[in-house]
Structure formats: C-alpha cells, structure tokens
Symmetry: C2
Subunit: 316 residues, 2 copies
C-alpha cells in the first residue's frame, strides 16, 4: 500500500462517486471537459477523493470511455486520490495500466445477486480479488485494492442479509489480500439501526484500518443512515453531487446519498469535512447544464446556503 | 385533560400536519371535499392525529376557512384526534367553540422572532398561554393546550438558540398550565447531534408526559433528526404527506419532514407506527391533483413501495 495513506486517521472523508456510480445508469453524461471542470472545482472546494469511472468496454459504456484521461487529471491535483471500478481481470489490468490510485472490485453479499450481477459465484469473485492483488504486486504498483460489498444491508433478489454474513465475507476479502472494504446499501433498504449494527461490527473488524460506507437514498434514509454510520465509527463515505445516480430496480428513484447534504450533516455533527458547502452547491450547475434530463436531488441546494452555517463558519 | 390520552405511553405517534403547516404558505389548497378524502384515507391507513388548520380570519387565510368542518369530520373518525393552531385569544375562543381536541399556541424561542412573528414579547405570549388555559377551564372543555416552541434549534433572525433557553421556556409554559410542549426546527437549521441534545433535556423535563418534535427538512436533515430524536426519547412527531409546506425564509425549499419517509424510518427502527405505508403513498395523488403547482417531496414515493418492507410486513 502507498506509504502516505490517502485516508488520514480520525478524519471523515467524503468521496465523490458521481463520475462512476452517478453515471452508471444515466442516459446522458458530461463531456470530458465538463467532467474535468466538475473535478477541478470540487477539488478547489476541498474534495480529495474521486471515483473516476469503471474500466469497461467503451463500446458498451461510452460514459466511461475517458476514464484514463480522468485518472490523469486527478493525478495532477494536489492531494487528490482516484478510485476506479473493475468487474474482471481485464478491467484490473487496464486500471493498473492507467495508474489509478485505488481499484474497487465488487462482491455481492448475497450469492443470488453475485450470480445475477457478475455471472459467477462469490467464491469465484473472491478468487478474482486475490488475482487482482497479485496483478497489482507483480506490476510493482502501489494502488490500493478495495472490495465493495454490494447489497450489504439487504438484497433486491434475496431479501434480508445478515451482518454475520457480511463480516464473514469482509474477512475473506482481507484474507484474499484486499486493503480496503466497503459496505454498500445498493438499493437503499437499510434504516439507521441496521446501518449502525453492521458498522459497529465493521469498526471492530477493521480496527485502525479504514472502511467505506456507500449509501443510496432510495427510500429517504441516506442522511439518517450516514449519521448512524458516523456514530458507529465509520469514517469514509461515498456520496454524489446532487445525488446523481439511480437504482436499477426502481426507475426514477433517488441515487447516491447527496454530497451537499452529507457535508451539512458532518459539519453539524462536529466532524468538519474541509469542504466549502457554498462552492459545492454552485458546482451543481455543471450537471444541470450537461445532463439536463437527469433529476438532481438534495434539499440543501433548494433552500440555498444556510445563513447560520455561514455565521458559524465565519466565527470558527 | 381528557381522561383517555390520545398519546398512549411508549408508542410513537406521527401527526399529519399538512392540513395546517403544509398549507400555511402554499398558493393553492385542496377543496374541503379533497381535504376530507385526504383525512379519511389517512385515517383508514392508520394515521390518528391531524393538525386541522389555524383559527385565523378567513378573509386573509382562505385555506383555513373550513377549519370547523374539518374538526367536525375528524370527530366522526374512530380514535382520531384534531389539533388546531391559534395565534391569539380570539383564535383560542374560536378553537374552543369548534371543540377541537387540542389547541396549539405558538411561542418563539428567540425574543426577536416572537416580536417579528407574533408582534409581542415572549412574556406577553406566556401570559396568553395562561389565558388560553383559563378559557379552556372556564368553558368546561377537555381540550389539551399545547405550546409549540418555534425556532427551538436555531433562529433565522438571531442565530443559535441554547437548549437551556428552550428548557427554561418549556418550564415557563408548564407553569402557565400548558399540557403539552412541542419543540420546532422551524427553519431546518439543526443537525442530529443538536436535536438529540435538546430532546434528551426535554425527555428529562417531561418525564412520562409526551412532547412533540416538529421538524422541517429544509436542509436535508429531517429524517436523520427524527432518528436522533427517537433515540433521545421523543415519541410524538409532526410530519406531512409529501413534505407539503415550505419555509418563509427560503423560497422553493422543502417543508415539513416527509410523513412517508418517517414511517419507513420508524418501521426499520423497531418502532412500528401502525400506518400502512403503501396506502399512504397512494394518498399523495390527492395533493398532486388538488395542488398541481406545489412540489411534493420524499424519496420513498419515487422508489415505489419497498419490496423488502412488504416481505417483512408479510412475515411479521
């Protein structure tokens, strides 16, 4: 792993995943220049962690055709960290060649969803994680290898998912050499009690090592779930500007938890993010311009910058 | 007070405040027949507590001109409870004459907002609360007299509000004879830590007596704040179907916390509400039809009824 951790201990990290998860299901997507402006302006506002895209065939996923350019852009920004999603060994090789800072491999918490989504068993996926780690080491790369455990709080195919099962899979991922684990409420089934229960287990398992909480706001629980995860010791959170993204099982539904709203949550919770909230709200204009057919979510932006927040920031 | 409490101990209560707070600022409002259908269908879905309107001059507030009819309707529904807002002694007399089950008087946590909103000092408002209690007793009424403390988590005019000050005002209200106290995040400034801090104080102050938490989702914290209040011992929550309502200080902003989303929160938190979530989502159609120019909020309704929730309900 890299000598300088991109995830400093004890400090909350909000990762912008709109460029990957936010574009996964949309019909339109920003031009590369607009993606670059989005990233540059968020970096200037204090965001440091960007999920840049998926390493998939450009013919089928044109929204990620420029992923190498986006990795290169992020590498030029001071202290910025790029994360790329891979679904198979070819993707992992492409990601390593692109010199992305962190590779995320997906594993579903349920066997049924792993078979449906990745067309292989969870055991086969675990073997691929070990392969990705070996490829990374053979390449002399310092990239972080992470695993995102999808459907960790309930599965759209098989219903409830037990925390024991997620923790068991997380242990298997660590045994396979993964540096980082993420737990994802892919379809937004969880409530805060459930999120807290698993995050307490993850905090105990991971100790000083960071883990990622990836929440969707499909059923309105996104911010409440983030608050519960924060209380349970989670420190790294995925989110997207304007809640960009959707849910494959609920057309029109909300997507990733809204980045702007999470910043406000963290600031009011005594966990400052270092992100300029007003600047962040302004960046939504890029998405409104580039993806005018996609709904943007988030209540904070509708209300305008909160005056009290400004007063507090000014007196801090 | 009534012999049979409309707020059974230990059980969460969600009050529909859309017919009052939700219509306070809107340009359009439902016809009386549509209000009646809204209430009847919510009652059938399991809602029992309805804020029916404000007792204000019909010439200036046509949306509340039918408040007496709405009180009468609620009185015909089994186990249903009506709450009416009053701003002065004349309103209190009208409310008592209408035989509303509960009268809410408003007091602002900050002197500045009380002066701006009610055109009198907080001391004068406290005296009016005592007058309302005396009017109720003189009339031989069993109506509950409650006080809603506005701006209890921050004031749009004077900034931060200290929990000590809210608790002091709550004590003064109880001394004035109030049966019920509510704490309102009128402009949605609070985050969950702040909500929890005041609710813990309120739980300690009120003991076995219920108190109301009235949240707005202006900055996206509504559901997270409700989760924090529930953990801190609060049991009665105001909410509105589709988050109807707005914020006078932020045009276009979200209004009351969304009733549907709170039902999902409570169900996933081990605090069943007895409310049929799917039926509730269907009732939004009345508002869409009657108030087509008003935005409806809430992510749960966009995603459609959650299948997992149905499975759990079916297996419970």
């Amino acid at each position: 792993m890299r000598a300088m951790s991109p995830y400093p201990a004890g400090r909350p990290v909000l990762r912008e995943v709109g460029l990957r998860d936010g574009l996964q299901l949309t019909r339109s997507f920003p031009a590369t220049t607009a993606k670059a402006e989005w990233i540059r302006r968020e970096h200037a506002a204090g965001v440091r962690h960007f999920e840049v895209g998926s390493f998939l065939p450009a013919s089928r996923f044109p929204q990620f055709a420029d992923v190498r350019e986006i990795v290169d852009l992020v590498s030029t920004l001071e202290g910025a960290h790029s994360v790329g999603l891979v679904l198979n060994e070819r993707g992992a090789r492409d990601a390593l060649q692109a010199a992305v800072d962190e590779i995320t491999v997906v594993l579903s918490a349920s066997e049924a969803h792993n078979l449906a989504n990745a067309h292989r068993s969870r055991e086969q996926s675990l073997a691929e994680i070990a392969t990705t780690v070996r490829l990374r080491d053979d390449a002399g790369s310092t990239a972080i290898v992470g695993v995102g455990i999808a459907m960790a709080f309930g599965c759209s195919l098989s219903g409830d998912v037990e925390p024991d099962e997620v923790v068991r899979l997380a242990e298997r991922c660590l045994e396979a050499g993964a540096d980082m684990i993420g737990v994802a409420d892919t379809v937004g089934f969880g409530g805060p009690k459930q999120i807290a229960a698993l995050c307490r287990r993850m905090t105990a398992l991971m100790g000083d090592r960071p883990y990622v909480v990836h929440l969707h706001d499909t059923r309105g629980m996104g911010v409440a779930n983030a608050a519960a995860a924060l209380d349970a010791g989670a420190r790294i959170f995925d989110a997207s500007l304007g809640g960009l993204g959707g849910c494959p099982f609920a057309p029109g539904a909300s997507g990733n938890v809204v980045l702007e709203d999470l910043v406000y949550l963290f600031e009011t919770s005594g966990s400052p993010t270092g992100i300029d909230l007003e600047a962040l709200i302004g960046i939504r204009g890029i998405l409104e311009h580039e993806m005018s057919g996609e709904p943007l979510h988030g209540t904070l932006a509708r209300a305008g910058p909160p005056p009290l927040f400004r007063w507090r920031a000014a007196s801090a």
